[in-house]
């Protein structure tokens, strides 16, 4: 009887283990493979469209804006950046902040592609969240124009069947942490006024920024 129970228990455990092995690993492999493809395509597209010297500045800005809209979960980035202030903000304030943040990202990151000479953009490793199979991290090595290798870790999640980036860390500098600390300082001084923060962000943007 005891032996039988042990066998049943063993069989149940083996079943759980096998089902986890059979159904779990391929699911991780799928999303990690998808992240690899997503980032490789995004990198190739970014280099071909943004390092294109025949395009004028306005074209490059618009291309980058489209790339950000299609590749980054800007609303989730904004939510992480504003943290507790996000919950207190109105829907209009959230939207305006998200757009101002996108334009800030354009100003900050578009110059990186100036003079880019078609270096490689390789995905070197991936990992899946143990708590959420729809969240994945992927590391890429990017060769900088100076010849150094820059290590960037991207954080993605599945949204509506596709992947979107919600954060990244370049050589240990994390996007959401950097923005959060700077904007939190302003929000603490202005009593948590997100609209005021957004106006101040807009004041730093060029006239060509699209704020709608």
């Amino acid at each position: 009887m005891i032996t039988c129970k042990r066998r049943t228990l063993f069989a149940a455990l083996a079943g759980v283990f096998l089902s986890a092995t059979v159904s779990g690993a391929p699911a991780h492999a799928d999303i990690e493979s998808e992240a690899d493809t997503f980032l490789t395509q995004m990198g190739t597209r970014a280099i071909s469209e943004l390092a294109d010297t025949s395009a004028d500045e306005a074209q490059r800005v618009q291309r980058f804006r489209t790339l950000l809209d299609e590749s980054i979960d800007l609303r989730l980035v904004a939510q992480q950046v504003l943290a507790r202030y996000w919950r207190a903000a109105s829907e209009q304030e959230r939207n305006e902040f998200t757009i101002a943040m996108r334009e800030t990202l354009i100003v900050r990151f578009l110059p990186i592609f100036d003079g880019y000479k078609g270096e490689t953009f390789d995905v070197v490793s991936t990992r899946t969240s143990t708590r959420n199979p729809n969240v994945v991290g992927a590391v890429t090595n990017v060769i900088t124009p100076g010849g150094d290798v820059a290590r960037i870790e991207w954080f993605l999640r599945k949204v509506g069947g596709g992947l979107l980036i919600y954060d990244f860390s370049a050589e240990g500098i994390r996007l959401t942490t950097s923005l959060q600390e700077e904007y939190a300082s302003v929000l603490r001084d202005n009593g948590g006024n997100v609209a005021d923060l957004t106006r101040r962000m807009e004041a730093t943007l060029p006239a060509t920024a699209v704020l709608e």
């Binding site: 989730l76 943290a83 919950r87 919600y166 240990g172 994390r174 600390e181 939190a184």
Partner: protein
């Protein structure tokens, strides 16, 4: 050997080091409770004042000097300057590699110094990197971190810029373990004053070289910043954390956003 080097001002300096270590230790216990909204910057008012002075010095002296340096010197010469400065700093890096128990990195630093000092013509050419001995940096601030000392409160140092209590202690200790002042004192007839000027000149050249390599980056950081002080503070801390891990990635937990978005 200079008798007074660890007496008088040196002794006072060491007392300062001990005091800052204690402060750093106290602050480190607070770090564990640091979270969103806790900047660990109790001297922010003074720091912002120093930051403003540094900014003015940068605008009127350092940035123009860096731009001129970059304009006048071709890239190979600038690379030679950087290589030579790194080679001169190798003994301090080596000592800190040892302090941290990083034997392979210590070997790399030692090999770099031997190869570049000889075949690299006093460190001007980085021959060692081509042989697989890549450059890395270490300092006593990082060593203290590896030993478990918290970063302490944030500090902006005159001319030197962003730092922390721990890193300031590290700077002072590094200046003591740097062998070159002792070597110059032993091997030449230079006065203490001359050696100090040489030391300051070396630091100034290092600073100009680093500033010259980052003109556009700093311009961009300033351009879209609404609080440049806080932005640099954040970047400094994150960069130091990365350096302490020797560039190894932080284990950033992958969150369950579905739960978090439920509170949207």
């Amino acid at each position: 050997m200079r008798d007074g080097f660890l007496r008088g001002p040196g002794k006072a300096c060491m007392a300062g080091v001990v005091a800052l270590s204690l402060l750093g230790g106290c602050a480190s216990s607070q770090d564990q409770n640091a979270g969103f909204g806790d900047d660990n910057d109790p001297l922010e008012f003074v720091n912002r004042f120093t930051f403003a002075i540094n900014g003015a010095l940068d605008a009127f002296v350092i940035q123009p000097a860096a731009a001129t340096y970059r304009f006048l010197l071709p890239d190979p010469v600038q690379n030679g300057v950087r290589n030579a400065m790194r080679n001169i700093g190798a003994p301090v890096v080596f000592a800190n590699d040892i302090f941290q128990g990083e034997w392979e990195r210590a070997e790399t630093t030692a090999m770099r110094f031997l190869i570049n000092t000889t075949l690299g013509v006093a460190g001007i050419f980085d021959v060692a990197a081509e042989w697989g001995y890549e450059y890395h940096d270490e300092d006593f601030g990082q060593t203290l971190a590896v030993w478990g000392v918290g970063e302490g409160f944030y500090l902006v140092l005159p001319l030197l810029g962003p730092s922390t209590a721990r890193d300031t202690v590290g700077l002072v200790v590094d200046s003591f373990i740097d062998p070159w002042p002792y070597v110059l004192d032993f091997a030449t007839n230079l006065s203490d004053e001359d050696i100090t000027y040489i030391f300051i000149g070396r630091r100034a050249l290092e600073g100009i070289d680093i500033r010259a390599r980052n003109i556009e980056v700093i311009d961009t950081l300033k351009a879209d910043s609404i609080d440049y002080y806080v932005r640099l503070r954040s970047l400094y801390r994150q960069n130091r954390e990365s350096e302490i891990r020797n560039g190894r990635p932080a284990e950033i937990p992958l969150p369950d956003f579905d739960e978090q978005l439920g509170n949207d």
